[in-house]
């Protein structure tokens, strides 16, 4: 098959911060992008990336009443069209469970409309309303949203994370309605501190990794008792956390100190590796879903970077194969410079291990491939 390694981009008309892969759909490279417009119509675009034609098109547009500060899609394939968003109404933050109706209908724009557009971007379809299923009753002040965390191991569990509080919900989906029972709440251990980000541990169903200011901690969500703590992990606020998909207790974090750090959560003495990654805040950093040698990071310096950390991966380069050549050492694989504005969201595709998307504040979503050279280095 012909190998595409070109770049495809999609421009929204609004500002946007939230990007998420459609976790429940492992057949298509689909991403959800949510707009962030304080005074204006907000929308939620479902992008579909076609590997064969190397084109990205907007498959569906849903109208969303408020600007979206956080979103998460359901990781369970049977409910792949469910979505939780935290949005600001202008006075406070609300969190809603919605259903993207008609998501599985393939709406392909016909050839005529594409031709009419002069070969440029296909105009997005008309916006349709989201079906709001449930409002989760935890509210917060503006600017305090820190994310919605959907547990990939136990898809009925969702944590809504605000700066001053997090709450665990157990979802149940009936035929006619969905219900949410409230679980335990948890506030930052030190008064005045704020939660910054969080992540479910894929190896331990009830373990939740959290960042509180500069500290990284993990809690057991059954008791909300802290398990591991890494005090002062970064010299500035932590922005992102991710667990290694293959090695338990190995995680990465990124922060406002421009660095990505790799940790063994059981060792608080210091990071396994620390990398000055960008020239401003590192807004996101995540492991590839399958190949934990690859780490994707984005920054408010408007760059997206792909890193190689073979030495800390589940298949480190063996020492007996002679000297490691220059190309196999840990370090930067590629810098992607397609964005003109701060990048706040990155996501690996749920369907293809080598495809990822990034979203900058100006509403530009870019879909990229892992460079083939790197891909073959890992596969062969």
């Amino acid at each position: 098959m012909f190998e595409f390694n070109g770049t495809a981009s999609y421009q929204m008309k609004q500002q946007a911060r939230c990007l998420s892969a459609l976790e429940g759909d492992t057949d298509h490279n689909k991403f959800v992008v949510c707009s962030l417009e304080l005074r204006g119509e907000n929308e939620l675009h479902v992008l579909d990336f076609n590997e064969d034609t190397n084109e990205v098109c907007c498959q569906r547009v849903y109208a969303h009443p408020n600007e979206v500060w956080a979103c998460a899609t359901c990781p369970a394939p049977e409910h792949f069209d469910l979505l939780i968003t935290t949005h600001a109404s202008g006075t406070e933050l609300k969190t809603t469970l919605s259903k993207m109706v008609g998501l599985d209908e393939t709406v392909r724009p016909d050839e005529d409309s594409r031709a009419a557009d002069g070969g440029g971007q296909t105009p997005p379809p008309e916006a349709v309303p989201l079906e709001e299923l449930l409002e989760l009753p935890l509210t917060a002040s503006l600017g305090e949203s820190r994310g919605v965390l959907w547990n990939a191991v136990l898809p009925e569990q969702v944590v809504v994370l605000h700066a001053k509080q997090l709450r665990l919900y157990q979802l149940a989906h009936g035929i006619s309605a969905s219900t949410a029972s409230e679980g335990i709440s948890f506030a930052p251990p030190v008064d005045g501190d704020c939660f910054c980000t969080g992540r479910w541990d894929p190896h331990h169903a009830h373990a939740l990794g959290l960042a509180v200011e500069r500290t990284i901690m993990t809690v057991d969500t059954r008791t909300m008792k802290p398990a591991h703590t890494l005090p002062d992990a970064h010299t500035q606020r932590v922005r992102a956390l991710d667990y290694n998909p293959n090695r338990p207790y190995v995680a990465l974090s990124s922060g406002d100190d421009f660095a990505i750090k790799f940790w063994d959560l059981r060792k608080s003495s210091g990071p396994l590796h620390s990398q000055r990654a960008h020239s401003h805040w590192v807004t996101s950093a995540s492991y590839n879903r399958f190949h934990d040698q690859l780490v994707l990071s984005s920054s408010s310096d408007s760059r997206v970077k792909l890193w190689r950390v073979s030495s800390l991966s589940s298949s480190p380069p063996s020492a007996d194969e002679g000297e490691i050549d220059e190309g196999d050492a840990d370090g930067l694989v590629k810098t992607f410079e397609e964005h003109d504005q701060s990048v706040f969201g990155t996501a690996w595709s749920a369907a293809d291990a080598w495809i990822f998307a990034s979203l900058s504040l100006d509403g530009k979503a870019v879909i990229n491939h892992v460079p083939p050279a790197e891909k073959y280095k890992i596969l062969l």
């Binding site: 008309k13 609004q14 500002q15 417009e37 304080l38 005074r39 204006g40 600001a88 202008g90 503006l142 600017g143 704020c194 010299t235 500035q236 606020r237 406002d256 100190d257 421009f258 000055r276 020239s279 401003h280 805040w281 408010s300 310096d301 408007s302 003109d340 504005q341 701060s342 504040l361 100006d362």
Partner: protein
């Protein structure tokens, strides 16, 4: 194939006969194997693939069998050749032997006839001569024995114990021959009595506390000749010497007078051997090296003497004792072992004592070197006597360890001093430039001191120990490198004060520009003086400079981040929705400008020779910027998304935030630009997550206006800063619920008020 099968069947014949004979013509290894039947069976039952496989397998089996057989034949042939050679040799030698044997026979016959002739001519007179001779001998013996008691008594009285023992020994032999005669019995008893008294006397003498060593030796030897219990006597002797010598060790260091006395006799020899090492005068205050020297010259000769005495007195003879007769004799090995055990123990004690003495005082290197020399030197004669005990290598190991410990200690001290100097940087007071220079000077001085203390040790020590100096020199260089590299490491340790980071960055830069080179030059000077220039190459100055540079970069960036962090905190804690209407430029701007000013001042003392740009508003208040104008228009028109998009594009400018380290020449303005850009970028990003009311927006508008007035003058990339300020304003507008910009006049009035305030506070 057939040949191979025959061979194989011969080989297997035993195994087959053991089994009940069954006809198996399908077994390829059996005698009855029927090839045709086998082939046809194969053709019937197997597929083509299997046949080809089987065919291939057979070919390889055949090849294997062939090569095995060749091997067997070859080996047997080899053995045959060897046997033929041997037989040929045997035959040749037997021929030679035959002629020699016949010659031998004739020789023997000649000898026999001559001997017969001599015998017959002498036989007549021999009998008489022998008789006369025997009578004379007996008479002499008789005379000696009758005189014996008086002789013995006289000898004992004259303390000629040795003579007495000699006489007694002689008499003993004669007496034992004629012991049965009564008249001799009396003499014998008398002599025995005298000898027993002598033994008692000798034993008494041994008990004397200050018996000289030589007397102890001879007395013991006499006792040995008289008494049979050799082991007990020798052990007693060794125990006595051990006690005395250990006492010498235990009483060390002795009071000064006795020490000097003790050292004097040996002085001449020592100085002749190694004058430059032995230069200390006896009047010197007690020092470790002096003590070691004194101990060496007092103690070791005695140990050497012990060994020599032992060898001369106890090792040479194997004569029987005279009194006890049947006591156990010790073998020479046993005796050598006894003494060497003691000597190893004593020397070990000596080495250990010296080691402790040198360790506890830790003298300066030349002194240590002298001490080590004195430790090693006295052992040399002993080593020559007893090479098996490996005493010299043992001492050498101790000396090497001491030398390395000293080096290690010096470099550790250096490491601590350097770290303390770096950490002390933030606590000091006074002008920053002077502080930096003095810390650098201190680092260099400490390094120089450490080098002076260690480098001169290298060559003589290695010479003394017979080692190659390169290894030790390389070790020294490596350790020194690590100690200096610690500057970079210690500098990166977290510090509570942000200015501390800047100071340390300054120190790293100073090390980059001059310090590393100085240290390297010092090292080269020290080592090349000793012909160890090669080892100095181990000091990778370029790598160290890189390390220092990257430490400086990291520190500068950390410093820049601290200011950003303050801005972040301030933005996050402000409630922009419920902000009051702007009345003045906020403390945020004041804080930023204040920090920048402090940074500039500090940096100016670290990086010299650059004119400072003022951090006060320069020139007239800037006119309304393009962005603000559009904002104002947009506020009047009422916004649409499309307009704002264009607006954003118009002012969007991709700004690089990479730190100045790329240029490698750090300037104050460049540093300040970098800090300002990062701070503004942080402000921009923070403003993008806030939601502003009209008042909140106006406040930020005012703050940006003030910064627009102040900042461009003091940065290198004015356009970047202006663009960032515009972006902040536009982002604010996007996040504002009700956007009405301030009037330009109001903006100017409030900013002017702030300017006056700043001027007042800085003058």
């Amino acid at each position: 194939m057939v040949r191979a099968r025959e061979l194989l069947s011969k080989f297997y014949v035993d195994a087959q006969e053991a089994r009940p004979h069954e006809v198996d013509d399908m077994n390829i290894d059996a005698v009855e194997f029927n090839a045709d039947k086998y082939v046809s069976a194969m053709l019937q039952n197997k597929s083509l693939d299997e046949l080809v496989q089987r065919g291939n397998a057979m070919v390889s089996e055949i090849k294997n069998l062939d090569s095995d057989m060749q091997m067997l034949v070859y080996e047997n042939y080899n053995k045959f050749i060897a046997a033929t050679d041997t037989i040929r040799q045997m035959k040749h030698r037997v021929e030679d032997m035959e002629s020699q044997m016949s010659q031998l026979e004739t020789n023997m016959n000649t000898i026999a006839t001559k001997s017969d002739a001599v015998n017959s001519s002498l036989s007549a007179r021999r009998g008489q001569l022998e008789k006369l001779n025997g009578a004379k001998k007996t008479l002499t013996k008789l005379q000696f024995i009758t005189d014996l008691p008086s002789l013995l008594e006289q000898c004992v009285l004259d303390e000629k114990y040795e003579q007495a023992v000699q006489y007694y020994k002689r008499a003993k032999r004669i007496l034992s021959a004629v012991g049965t005669v009564a008249s001799f019995q009396g003499i014998r008893d008398e002599a025995d009595l005298l000898m027993r008294r002598l033994v008692q006397l000798l034993n008494l003498k041994l008990q004397e506390p200050d018996l000289p060593v030589e007397a102890l030796g001879t007395t013991t030897r006499l006792l040995l000749q008289l008494d049979a219990n050799e082991e007990a006597i020798l052990k007693d002797f060794l125990a006595r010497r051990r006690r005395v010598l250990l006492e010498v060790l235990n009483n060390f260091p002795p009071p000064p007078i006795s020490r000097e006395d003790a050292s004097r006799p040996d002085e001449g020899e020592g100085e002749a051997a190694e004058p430059e090492l032995d230069a200390d005068s006896p009047n010197e205050p007690p020092s470790a090296a002096g003590d070691v020297r004194a101990l060496g010259s007092l103690f070791m000769p005695q140990v050497v003497q012990l060994q020599e005495m032992w060898n001369s007195l106890f090792m040479s003879d194997a004569e029987p004792t005279v009194m006890g007769g049947g006591g156990a004799r010790l073998s020479a090995e046993r005796k050598a072992a006894m003494v060497s055990e003691l000597i190893v123990e004593l020397t070990g004690g000596y080495i250990e004592l010296c080691r402790q003495r040198l360790l506890e005082e830790l003298p300066p290197p030349p002194e240590l070197l002298r001490g080590l020399y004195h430790l090693m030197h006295p052992i040399e004669p002993l080593h020559a006597l007893l090479p098996a005990a490996a005493l010299l290598p043992r001492a050498a190991r101790v000396a090497e360890a001491l030398g390395e410990a000293e080096m290690e200690r010096q470099l550790r001290t250096l490491g601590e001093q350097v770290a303390a100097a770096v950490l002390g940087l933030t606590d000091g007071s006074g002008a920053v430039g002077k502080r930096l220079a003095s810390v650098e000077a201190a680092i260099c001085a400490h390094t120089q001191e450490a080098l002076l203390r260690t480098a001169p040790l290298l060559l003589p020590l290695c010479e003394l120990l017979g080692l190659r100096p390169d290894g030790m020199a390389k070790h020294l260089v490596k350790r020194l490198y690590a100690a200096i590299l610690d500057v970079a490491r210690v500098a990166r340790l977290p510090t509570p004060q942000p200015e501390g980071m800047l100071l340390r960055a300054g120190l790293c830069l100073q090390m980059v520009s001059s310090g590393v080179a100085q240290v390297h030059a010092m090292l080269k000077a020290q080592l090349s003086g000793q012909g160890l220039r090669g080892a100095a190459l181990g000091f990778d100055a370029a790598a160290m400079v890189r390390e220092m540079q990257s430490s400086a970069d990291a520190l500068l960036e950390g410093f820049a981040q601290k200011l950003s962090w303050g801005v972040s905190k301030q933005m996050q804690t402000t409630d922009w929705v419920h902000a009051p209407a702007p009345r003045e430029v906020t403390s945020l701007v004041g804080a930023i400008i204040g920090e920048l000013r402090a940074t500039q001042l500090l940096a100016s003392q670290i990086l010299h020779g650059e004119a400072l740009r003022s951090l006060l508003p320069q020139g007239p208040f800037p006119p309304t910027s393009g962005a603000t104008q559009i904002l104002q228009q947009r506020a009047k028109l009422g916004g649409s998304v499309a307009i704002h998009k264009d607006l954003q594009r118009m002012f969007a400018r991709k700004i690089s935030f990479s730190s100045t380290s790329g240029h490698h020449k750090i300037t104050i303005a460049g540093m300040l630009t970098h800090i300002i850009k990062l701070t503004l970028k942080t402000l921009l990003e923070e403003s993008r997550v806030c939601t502003f009311s009209r008042e909140g927006f106006q406040q930020l508008h005012l703050d940006c206006g003030m910064m627009r007035w102040v900042l461009p003058a003091c940065v290198e990339q004015e356009a970047d800063v202006l663009s960032l300020l515009d972006e902040i304003l536009i982002s604010c507008q996007e996040r504002c619920l009700d956007c009405v910009p301030l009037e330009h006049a109001v903006l100017q009035r409030l900013c002017d008020a702030k300017r006056k305030e700043l001027q007042l506070s800085y003058s």
